[in-house]
Amino acid sequence: MMNKPKEMNELLLILIFSAVVLTMPIWLSPLGAAYPDLLQKFAIFGVFAIGYNILFGLTGYLSFGHAAFLGVGSYTAVWSFKLLSMNVLPAVMFSVVLAGLFAAVIGFVSLRRSGIYFSILTLAFAQMSYNLAYSVLTPITNGETGLQLAKEDPRILDSAVVDGLPSTNFFGIELQGFSGFYFCAAFLILGFIIALRIFRSPFGLKLRAIKTNQTRMRYTGFSTRPYLLTAFVISGMYAGLAGALMACTDPLAGAERMQWTASGEVVLMTILGGVGTLFGPLLGVGIIKYFENIFSAINEQALHAIFDFLPTWLEEFMVLITHPFVGEGWHLTLGLLFMLTVAFLPGGVMEGIDYIKKKMSSKDTDETEGTSTTKTAEEGSSS
């Protein structure tokens, strides 16, 4: 009875989620994170992670190639700005469609294998795209410099002459600052609704069944590959959307977005927050992007200020041991955090929350029942 969490009413969930996302500029301001640049990042990577979670969280297929779709999305969006119009709507549409097509091709090939071979296949495709974007595809990608807008771009739909470079707009609203955030947030909410529908649909259930036991699934007469491919394409489209949004808020695209370590980043976010849960990946994005922002800004003086209350020798000592982990060393902290998460909390922050919740409730009722349920939860997540 405790194993099956009560499913909240969908409409209510969506309303709460939208409210939380849209009021982010308000409730994040005490935390010092309410400026548009960071908020946009939250929303964009949120879209990316939600989409990635549909593949990795539901089916358990670990892809290292999603950065390639992100890159395709970005390049498509910038080309749409260059050739068609500075309106972001066509850019987003084209990006999602093209990234979807790209994902369909790569997915069709990669999904012939599973497990670690699937990971390596996606890795190989991502590296191929990255290498090509850097070298031969320079006419399309502008190689190392990255694709940028230029004054002499044709822009056949709105080629009105402006001073300097035109900025991206949504039917006249310039997507800078907070309007940019609200634009991305709208897509985040849309993406969340779709993900929610998938999670609670028979299709989502089939994907979960593939993760649990693919062989058994096949024996019951399902051909698993079409479902896997659909999930792969959907998550590729999310990645393309995220890439397009990146280009909308900052109209340039570079090949480094396609490198496999960039895919690693979204894996980190998803795992840290909680694989296979609805909110986990978003939590992961929030935590990583927020702390990246905070930690990277801390320098030695700031550290001295933090440990100011301690005696001098202890202050020096604390600054000495914490210094490698902040500022430039943020990635070190991230790596350690990630290792600890995978080792001790494979379900990420969400599992931690569940665990605490169960601990709290079991103290009130029955001690033994609480421990037994957490154990099943652990078994479920580690398999």
């Binding site: 090939v109 390596i120 090509l132 031969v136 496999w260 980190l268 060393g329 995978v342």
Partner: protein, 352 residues
């Protein structure tokens, strides 16, 4: 007559190019093979997919760099050659203490650092296996990948914070820093020259590979390890502590890829993300060779190296542009799809 000679000359040049690319491929393949050998050794024995293996290669390279830095610790001394004013120059302590011998030692720092790298890498490997990786034997491959990926990030960030983000060039010994005139030696004309150090690297990798194989095939220890790869449980039932031997094998794998890194320093100045760059390649090599097959890893390493260097020929690039950038991955994709076990993979090892 003139025409004929001209043709002959052309033919000769083609021959040179082919030989040159073959050498290029062989020595690139040497590096691939060494890393892949370590990777597949770990996979075959411990069953762990180690994404931190590239970091071991990188750590090996930085062994050489730090050894060189250690040797060239220097103090300011008065420059006697300038008499106008007091000028100072840096002079390494070694030169001050040992004179010319010191200079020679510094010159040979890269090959000498092998001596340091072996114990250091062995310790790193053992510590890594006993301290961290041991706890992940029973976890899924995905979790192993994720954990070791995190470990790789941590290792490379540590190196970055110590050595900075820029590549650090460390030269090969003076005698071998030039190029060998192979053409003259083989009687093919003077056009065929090749850097000495890369030839040495090729020889070195051949020796190491031979050493590892000899260790596994000719010693009792190796025999037990091979039996363990085949059937761990039975070997354990025979009263052999196979876990401990596998730990030693992990140390060995760390040493092999570390040494590959040490000797690669003069070829490519190492920076902190060297490991990640080589990791993907070496995984591809392992997969092409066949998971868990040592011979396969070596063969695939050399094969892919040669293939890559031939694809960077201008003639081939003219037909299919960009092929040199993707050939390795393309081969991997094709092999994985048509021959899922890789070139020499054994039945029953990691099949899905």
């Amino acid at each position: 007559m003139f025409l004929y000679r001209n043709q002959n000359k052309n033919k000769c040049r083609d021959m040179d190019t082919i030989l040159l690319q073959l050498l290029n491929g062989l020595d690139k393949g040497g590096a691939y093979a060494l890393i892949a050998l370590g990777l597949t050794l770990v996979f075959g024995t411990l069953g762990v997919v180690n994404f931190a293996h590239g970091a071991l290669f990188m750590l090996g390279a930085f062994c050489a760099v730090s050894f060189n830095k250690l040797l060239t610790l220097s103090k300011k001394v008065k420059d006697e050659s300038i008499t106008f004013f007091d000028a100072y120059k840096e002079q390494p302590y070694l030169e001050i203490w040992l004179g010319d011998t010191g200079t020679t030692i510094i010159d040979w720092s890269v090959p000498l650092s092998i001596l340091i790298a072996i114990p250091v890498m062995l310790l790193i490997g053992l510590a890594m296996e006993r301290g961290l990786i041991r706890h992940f034997y029973k976890r899924s491959h995905a979790e192993q990948i994720l954990f070791t990926f995190g470990l790789a990030i941590v290792l490379q960030e540590i190196v970055k914070s110590v050595f900075g983000a820029n590549p650090i060039p460390t030269p090969a010994p003076d005698i071998v820093s030039g190029s060998a005139n192979l053409g003259a030696a083989l009687g093919l004309g003077d056009n065929l020259v090749y850097p000495w150090w890369r030839l040495i690297y090729l020889m070195f990798s051949a020796v190491i590979i031979a050493g590892v194989f000899a260790f596994l095939k000719l010693t009792t220890f190796g025999m037990v390890v091979r039996a363990g790869i085949h059937d761990k449980e039975t070997v354990g039932l025979l009263g052999i502590n196979i876990e401990r031997r596998f730990t030693i094998v992990f140390g060995l794998a760390a040493v092999v890829s570390g040494l590959a890194g040490v000797m690669y320093v003069p070829v490519l100045p190492p920076d902190y993300h060297l490991g990640m760059d080589f990791l993907v390649l070496s995984f591809v090599v392992v997969v092409v060779g066949g998971m868990g097959s040592l011979e396969g890893a070596v063969a695939a390493g050399f094969l892919l190296g040669i293939l890559q260097s031939f694809c960077s020929l201008n003639e081939i690039k003219a037909i299919i542009p960009g092929i040199d950038q993707i050939i390795i991955y393309l081969v991997a994709v094709v092999i994985l799809l048509v021959k899922p076990r890789g070139l020499m993979g054994k039945k029953g090892v990691m099949e899905d």
